[in-house]
Amino acid sequence: MSDLWENYVREHLPDLRVDPAREAEIVSELAQQLEQAYRDAILSGASEPEAIHQAQAQFNDWNKLAREIESAEQRVVDPPLPAKPWFGALHDLRYAARFFHRNPAFAAVAVITLAFGIGGNTAVFTMVDALVLHGLPYSEPDRLMAIDTTKSQQAYIEPWTSALDFFDLRDRTHAFSSIAGIGPVWNVILTGSGEAERLESLYVSASLFPMLGVNAALGRTFLSSEDRGAQPSNVVILSDGIWRRRFGASREILGRSLTIDGGVFTVIGVLPADFRYAGEPVAGTASAIDAWFPLSANPLTGSQRGLRFLKVVGRLNPGVSPQ
């Protein structure tokens, strides 16, 4: 349905005098508005034709809308790009350049465009160093790279990767010594002793902590065997903060079973007090993470390539330059 609304917007919105990648973003966003209006109309009991009409009524003067968007963008108009084989890569690089321009604090180090033959729909991975590398409490932080992906024929880069693409990249890469996937967890509630408490949580692959050079202060981090397999591993690692606040810094926390969202998870480790998740907040997740679950515990791990929900970070192999 979203593709239908994107096509509808493309048919009605006059060409914008903005960067093509930016235009694609705008089209996508306006299509979301229409699709949501359509869905809400259906939920309100509207018939299909009524819902479509209500959605289309969201924007009735497309020429005016285009003029206002162009005025709002107020950017230097780029000349038409020549049709050359590296057209798509150029888009990626321009996107990354704007990203860095808008995020100077991110201390951009490098932009690399690599071609991978992964899957049927992912042709180009653009790796963008989007972490604040210096001063991070990780081993050799300048070797860590955020990996963003884009589908073929897609004008924009997404900071998300599907589980299957992540597995392929992890298994086939020669550029990275280690690759880790990070996914959000929603509405995790800890119950049992004391009041119920919402936990800020992430699903992470077992490779994350070794890749960052972080060992558990108490217990251990995830095993690779807890990272794969059909049966999710019901284990959890706690932050130092919640360990002290909620469990009184008891060393007997190891092996203890916690009731989280109605499931039982065994505590296997506590992270060091000075450890902090310095990655970009994942889908609104706070940067102060209370609980860490293995990636295998995420049911979305078995989803198709179309569902892109993972942040991916890699550590470059020795001798591999980010440039």
Binding site: E25, S28, E29, L30, Q33, N60, A72, E158, A283
Partner: protein
Amino acid sequence: MRDLQKGSAEMIILALLEERQRHGYEIARLIGTESGNKLQFHVASLYPMLYRLERKKLVEGKWVEKPGERRRRFYRLTPAGRKALAASKRNWREFVAALNRLTGFSHV
């Protein structure tokens, strides 16, 4: 009244983003529901305004994909946006206070 609404539209958007990040559809919906439908903000005006605020670095838009949902573009306040909102609130309070003094509404 039309100019007043137009001039305060940016403040309204910034205020709705003060608590947490939101996407455009949610912002449009909240303007209607939170004002008891006293304020109408056509979405055709909302998105250019969001883009303008982004260019002014008062808000930051970011694509977010939640599991099981389509990706959406969420907007959040930047530090500059937070300062701008605080200044707008101060100006608004002064304006309302002056209006009350002039009209005597505050004594009703």
